[in-house]
Symmetry: C2
Subunit: 206 residues, 2 copies
Amino acid sequence: MSSVATTHIVDDDPAVRDALQWLLQSRSVPSQTWASPQEFLAFAGSDLCGCVLLDVRMPGMSGIELFDRLRARGCRLPVIFLTGHGDVPMAVQALKDGAFDFVEKPYDDNALVDKVLAAIAHDAQRSARDGSVHALRERLAQLTRREQEIMQRILAGKLNKVIADELGIAMRTVEVHRSRIFDKMQVRSAVELSQLLSLLGDKPES
Amino acid sequence: MSSVATTHIVDDDPAVRDALQWLLQSRSVPSQTWASPQEFLAFAGSDLCGCVLLDVRMPGMSGIELFDRLRARGCRLPVIFLTGHGDVPMAVQALKDGAFDFVEKPYDDNALVDKVLAAIAHDAQRSARDGSVHALRERLAQLTRREQEIMQRILAGKLNKVIADELGIAMRTVEVHRSRIFDKMQVRSAVELSQLLSLLGDKPES
DNA sequence: TGGGTGTTTGCGGAAACCCACAATGGTCAA
DNA sequence: TTGACCATTGTGGGTTTCCGCAAACACCCA
C-alpha cells in the first residue's frame, strides 16, 4: 500500500497533464502523471490509494477500456473521467460501471479539485473497509477444513449435538472444534462470530 | 401496493407521451401517462411498483425536481430520465442522486424498452427486499421497551447473568424476556436473531 | 373495579455449553 | 524416523440456557 494518497493523471496530452498536475500541486494534492494507458497499467496494482484522473480519448486505448482493465486486475481506485466530447451515453455507462465521476472539459478548477478530494476521501473509506475485510479473510483462512465445516453449521444455529450427528462424530469433538474456531476468529460467542461474518456478505451502499 | 408493475410516463408533450405509451403497449408493458409533474406527484406514493419515465425539461417543475420530491416522499421507483438536450453534468448528477438511467432523445426503441424492463426488474427486487425488511421492522416493533433493551445486550453477546447485573434485575427475568424476544422475532437462537437483524443495517450493492 | 398487559421473581430440573486433563491415530515434511 | 499439525474421543465437573409452574405488582382502559 503506497502510504500517500496520490492522484494518478493519465492523459496523452502533455499540456493537459501539466495543467492538472499544477492545479493539484497548488492545492497540495500529491499527483503523478502517466503519458499513456499502457504506462499506468504497467504500474497499477491493487495496492494504490488515492484516485485516477482519466482522459476518455487516448490513442491506443480508450479511458473506458483502461478503466475496465484496472477493475479486472483488482484496482479499486475511484476514477474520474475527463472528456472533451460531451457524450451522455458514455457518461451514463461509465457511472453505471462504477466510475466515480465524469467531467467535461473545459473543467472548473475548483469543482474538479473538489471532486478529486471527494474521490480520495471515498477511497480512504473503502480502503479501511477492505482492510478489515482482508484481516477477517485471513483469520478465516486459518481455519482448517473441518473447522470451516463446523463453523457453517454453527452459523446455521445448530446445536453441537446435531452437528455431531450430521458429521458422524462425537459431541466432544465438535466442542473442541467450536472452541478452536472462536479462538482463531477472536470472538467469544456464536453471536459475535455471526456479526463478524455478516461484514463479508453485504457491503454498505456506494 | 399496486399489483401490476406500471411504467409511469411523465411528459408535458402529448405526442411524446403517446409515442412512449404506444411503444410500451406494443411490448405488453403496462403504462400510465401524466401530463405534468404535479399531476403525477399528486398520485404517487410509496406504494407503487414499476418505474418512471421522466422528461427532464417540463414547464413548472423540472424532471430533476420531481425526482427529488418523489424521493423525499419515500417513492423509491426507479427513474429513467429522458432528455433532448445532451447535458453531461446533469446526467452525472442525476445518476449520482440515484436515477436508474439517463437517456437522450431521440431514443432507440429497443434500447429504451430494455432499460424499462431492467428498471422494472430492479424495482421488483428492491420491493421484495423492502418487503421483508418491513416485515422485520414490524416484528421488531412488537417488542416492548424492556425487550428491546435486553435484545441489544443479547446481540452484544452478553450472558444473561451479565445483563441481569447491568439492569439490576434477576436472571430469571432476563430469561423470560429472552424467551419472549425469540418468540416474537420468530427465531430459535441468538445467532439467528443476529443474522436477521444484519439485514437491516447493510443493503446489497445497487 | 375487573381484565389485559408488562415487568418482575422464585424453584427446580433437563439440556446444552465450556473446559482442563489426558490420550489415540493419521498425514506430511524435515 | 521424528516432530508438527490435525482430527478424534473420553471423563468429570462447573456454568449457562431454557422452561414449566406459580405468583406478585404496576399501569391503563373499559
